[in-house]
């Protein structure tokens, strides 16, 4: 199954702040059929209560919540911000890419996290994602 969906990707989005950016990435999960709206609320709750731990790498935030919080299928969304945003992380701010993930089953979200980590952890692919201009080019970079 191809996991990358065009409706789950938006390039050069204007977001007001971290919460807005997370909500946009979460709404794309809902639009693509990966999650119920309450999953987005759970992701936001996690960020507001626990902090900017979701900024896993320089410039990259990976919002997620537990599968039982309304995940419908394993998937992810990708938002490239027009302007980098401060999430409050000491070392990895500002954030330019927000990649929200969902997983189903006991390990689904870990598998998705590892898949996404494999792409975003690759410095060349990360750089390409910051530069591409359209979905077609993204589909050449994100191939799972």
């Amino acid at each position: 199954m191809k996991l990358l969906k065009e409706e789950a990707v938006r390039l050069d989005v204007q977001a007001l702040n971290a919460v807005d950016a997370i909500r946009i990435s979460g709404n794309l999960l809902v639009d693509a059929g990966y999650a119920e709206p309450r999953y987005v609320d759970a992701m936001l709750k996690g960020f507001l209560e626990v902090g900017p731990y979701i900024v896993l790498a320089p410039g990259i935030a990976i919002p997620h919540a537990r599968p039982e919080n309304g995940a419908l299928a394993s998937g992810f969304s990708l938002v490239r911000l027009a302007t980098p945003i401060e999430f409050g992380h000491d070392k990895n701010d500002p954030v330019k890419l927000v990649c929200a993930i969902t997983g189903v089953g006991s390990n689904g979200h870990i598998e998705m996290l590892q898949k996404v980590a494999g792409i975003l952890g690759d410095k060349d692919k990360h750089q390409q994602l910051l530069e591409v201009q359209n979905f077609e080019d993204i589909s050449k970079i994100i191939t799972f």
Binding site: V50, G51, Y53, L56, P58, I62, R66, D90, N92, Q114
Partner: protein, 94 residues
């Protein structure tokens, strides 16, 4: 040896980190047991080593076990460079 991997909520990033650490250990002939947990549950838990993202690690400085802080959780090289020497050291100490 028993490793605690810690993240904000204890079910996503910390599990990925633990699996990565176990895979690095295995590659080099070491067996690492451990669990992934959230910050609150990590405090006071008995273990040989704690591994966490840098902003979480800052809050674990009072723990008895050594704490390794990872800045970039997607960078396998950083994880390996920081964690492997400690695994070797702990293995030698038995």
């Amino acid at each position: 040896m028993y490793v605690l991997s810690v993240c904000g909520m204890g079910f996503g990033t910390s599990l990925m980190l633990l699996m990565e650490v176990q895979s690095i250990a295995k590659e080099h002939g070491y067996t690492v047991d451990g669990e992934a947990t959230d910050l609150g549950s990590a405090k006071g838990k008995s273990c040989d080593l704690i591994i966490a993202s840098s902003e979480i690690a800052a809050e674990l400085s009072d723990e008895a076990a050594p704490v390794i802080a990872i800045d970039n959780l997607l960078d396998k090289e950083e994880i390996k460079e920081k964690v492997l020497p400690m695994i070797k050291k702990l293995a030698q100490e038995g």
